[in-house]
Symmetry: C2
Subunit: 255 residues, 2 copies
């Protein structure tokens, strides 16, 4: 049946990689804030983050990571390194990753020139209009004007969280996701070892539900959150029911 086929096709997941470019994260000076935000927003449109790399401001590292991930995943999102200073080398690295030259993007140049008074539009600021040859789509920057850009399936964004978020808002409507993944969390005060055997049985039973078990330790108490994720609502509901029954079963044995 055509309808059934379409529905099955839609279940395919769309995966993305993230490349976080920034010495400040690797030195521990700054906590990484963009990954969880990206994961949440992209997940909501059916794009799953499959791999993240946090790398230093070194051209070879950016080239290697972007080339590796852009071939493996539908989308790659980079954050950081698109400003005017000497350590902002992302555009140059992306050009090299694609084997093209850097050149002045006319539209980016126009936006920057309009924003800065002609006195203030210095060579270092003009550098922010330098993009890989072949870029036709810019990513709007409503916060500080200097745009990001799209090169094939690679989305190049700012690292400052406020700017990255504004940029993401602009590109989200254009991204094509797969089926939305729904997630359910069930927490209990047992320890992982007490639920592991039965949980493994449930995990095997539902081939389209990813079941994760996340122990936590708070105020001297152990507990575990069981997270079930699936694009298949029916399987998900069944698996959730099984997990709840499993916990009830352990409760009863304890009484």
């Amino acid at each position: 049946m055509a309808a059934a086929k379409t529905s099955k096709e839609k279940h395919q997941t769309v995966k993305a990689g993230i490349v976080v470019i920034g010495d400040e994260i690797l030195s521990g000076r700054t906590s990484e804030k963009n990954v969880s935000y990206l994961a949440e927003k992209l997940g909501a449109v059916g794009i799953q983050i499959a791999h993240v790399r946090i790398i230093p401001d070194i051209e070879e590292e950016i080239v290697a990571s972007v080339n590796d991930l852009r071939r493996k995943y539908s989308y790659v999102f980079t954050t950081g390194g698109i400003g005017p200073t000497h350590d902002d080398i992302t555009a140059k690295a992306i050009a090299r990753a694609f084997g093209v030259t850097l050149h002045r993007n006319a539209e980016a140049y126009r936006r920057l020139k309009e924003h800065y008074h002609s006195d203030d539009f210095s060579p270092v600021r003009q550098k922010m209009a330098e993009m890989p040859f072949g870029v036709v789509k810019l990513i709007d920057n409503p916060v500080s004007v200097a745009p990001g850009f799209v090169m094939d399936n690679v989305y190049v964004m700012a690292g400052v969280p406020e700017i990255m978020r504004a940029m993401l808002d602009g590109i989200l409507p254009d991204l094509e996701g797969g089926n939305k993944i729904t997630s359910k969390t069930i927490s209990c005060f047992y320890r992982e070892g007490e639920i592991a055997a039965q949980l493994a049985v449930i995990d095997k039973k539902y081939n389209r539900v990813a079941i994760g078990s996340y122990p936590y330790f708070r105020n001297g108490n152990f507990g575990v959150s069981i997270v079930l994720r699936s694009a298949d609502e029916i399987q998900l509901q069944r698996a959730v029911k099984d997990v709840k029954l499993m916990i009830k079963d352990i409760d009863n044995k304890r009484l």
Copy 2:
């Protein structure tokens, strides 16, 4: 002179990679908390984080990332996936990365058996004593007993931050770092474009100081933090002085 040579040798940096294993981070459900902690603590003993990967609970992904990073860096630290549940596959993946089999580690088994009453020491908990063949060094777990382990230059730790931190405390004295990197931060209320040209000159002048420029945007105001990092105290002090002079210079032009 021998003394000078030793001093120069000591300036070499020791680099490490981190592999964060966990679907919960990639789904956006949990914010990653271990990287900045590891970066800070390791940085303090002269070990620089050069590369981080956040990957899902998939054996092939763990094998590929661990093999890639352990050949490139002096140390690799992994977090996550060493518990008793079906999604805890790190030990198995590390064994495969090294081309060895999993086997029961006698000391880990002894610790776990002592901790759990014999009734409670179920097969899923016994699984936590399964480690790659060849492991001789365990990583103590003062929080929940189940130990991590060291395989060559790969340090396998828990993902729960409270446990990871306790494990790290135990291994820190054994790690050999290079020279300690000192970091100085100078903030100003200029925008990056206003300092970029002069900062690039300072960056070129000091070949042993890494200078990063981190713009921020808070309450509607832009600013930039300039971070200088080096194992060479003298070069660092000179570069800091130059940056301060640069800012004073811009201040004066503004008056």
